[in-house]
Symmetry: C2
Subunit: 304 residues, 2 copies
């Protein structure tokens, strides 16, 4: 099942050096989930050949402009381009007021249902679940209420044992049934229980999105062992005082979090406008945790 | 005195084909006046090497998203980049509510004074005047209240007559005084009045910005003879019914308006997403009025 993340923007606060404010597109089983929607997100989607109309779910972490100012434009374009299927928007309750006011003054009556699901930033919640994935909030520590999101795929089916397939000459059309737990009767009439013919499924894959936040250890158990952790790394560690003052994290702290949480891979982003060259941030995070990448625009990460 | 217009965006409704929604930057005597501010305007300013902090005046025509959704982001970036000098924003009264609500929820207290001047779309007003320019609203005919803006430079000083300069050997340092109306005493003690030594100043140059509007003849006298008219041309004339239904103008109508208003040059823009190639719109407007140009992004037009 496809589970991959494309970076649409990774600048903090202001767009700069051709870097756009935060937005990410998660493709889960060919369905699109948008995470944050900074100004220019719809232009970025076009730039990378990603169809906005395929987005069915939008998650907004908090109400700093660099994380949501592209939302009204994106929804307006969906409307003008003839969308009829519903969209689900998850975000702080005040986001609904912002949307309502702007659609009211522009006299826009959206042609598609906008389902709004308010989040709260006090206690982690399961906020969404379908056959592919469940989504929980992560309570971040920022100047205003802010949540991250953890996407966990549903448990996979067990794997068929290829030694048994060979031994019993199990036809292709039976294998899916066996994975789903049905017993198999071989050509001699012997019944084999599914458990004998399969090995346990892999752990379900997961992605945790943490932006923006002060370096915080309270949610470490929640992100433990995720396949991919995106964590903001606004500053280098020599700017720790500034990071703390503005409720942000340094690259070194992000590396330390990834290490302690024993994640598989770390992705850093939300880069301050003071850094034109991002490699020093990457190198700093690597001092603590080896498997790190920069959240560069247009780059796609398969979540393995 | 510099009087030139740079196009930052000229797409209608939705960004497409690398075209951004509407925004224009007017440079009057090295001061920046921003006209409309669609999503991505701050990115466009950066792209074309224009410093956002030099903008002191912002004019918003109406509250359709493609004309103002970039404003909160632009103001936020000015704030984060340390602006302290005031900014003047002119636009519909509801724009202030939109700004206030978004700054409230993001807990942003702007570090610079934002002076808001509400416009009304019922009757043309003189809304601003300084030593360089006066700005009047143009009452447009759109689905929601919408004003254009007419920028008229202040009258220039009269021109010194070069034949008199030669005849009377007028030194350079006296010429500016004569232009300002002071009499000149020549080397024989004869007094010459300024009127004898000068010829009348050129007509003050002007720029009229008309977007978005149904083709409307009520403001033709107000835009008569302007040096540059920007008029929206959302559709080709074969889409007249659609233009009327959506309160927009066709390229042919824009040409006809320019002709009847006897403007010096016409600039067309606000192109529908249905046109990848814009030349047919240009050719259509030229059927009615010869001196037409397309409002292409990044292009600068000197207003002569």
């Amino acid at each position: 099942m496809k589970f991959e993340l494309t970076i649409l923007g990774s600048s903090s606060a202001t767009p700069i050096f051709e870097r756009n404010p935060t937005s990410q597109l998660l493709n889960i089983n060919e369905k699109y989930y948008l995470i944050d929607c900074g100004e220019g997100t719809q232009q970025q989607l076009m730039r990378f050949g990603l169809k906005a109309q395929r987005i069915d779910y939008i998650f907004i972490s908090h109400l700093h402009g660099d994380h949501y100012l592209g939302l009204v434009g994106l929804l307006s374009s969906m409307h003008l381009n003839g969308r009829s299927k519903p969209i689900k928007v998850f975000g702080p309750p005040e986001l609904k007021e912002i949307l309502d006011m702007q659609f009211k003054f522009s006299m826009t009556a959206l042609r598609f249902p906008l389902e709004f699901y308010p989040t709260q930033a006090v206690k982690s919640d399961l906020i969404f679940e379908n056959t592919d994935v469940k989504v929980e909030t992560i309570i971040l520590n920022h100047r205003i209420p802010c949540t991250g999101f953890k996407f966990t795929l549903k448990r996979r089916l067990p794997k068929i044992r290829m030694d048994k397939v060979a031994e019993l000459a199990i036809p292709v059309e039976h294998r899916q049934l066996i994975k789903k737990g049905f017993p198999y009767t071989d050509k001699d009439g012997n019944i084999h229980q599914a458990e004998e013919l399969t090995s346990p499924a892999d752990e379900p894959r997961s992605y945790a999105y943490c932006s923006d936040t002060l370096c915080d250890w309270t949610f470490i158990d929640q992100i433990r062992g995720v396949n991919l952790l995106y964590h903001e790394s606004t500053f280098r560690h020599d700017m720790l005082a500034r990071a703390e003052e503005t409720y942000h994290t340094t690259a070194m702290q992000a590396g330390e979090i990834a290490k302690r949480a024993e994640v598989k891979q770390l992705l850093i982003g939300h880069f301050s406008a003071r850094y034109r060259d991002l490699n020093p941030l990457l190198e700093e995070a690597r001092l603590k945790f080896e498997n790190v990448a920069l959240a560069l625009e247009g780059k796609t990460f398969e979540i393995l």
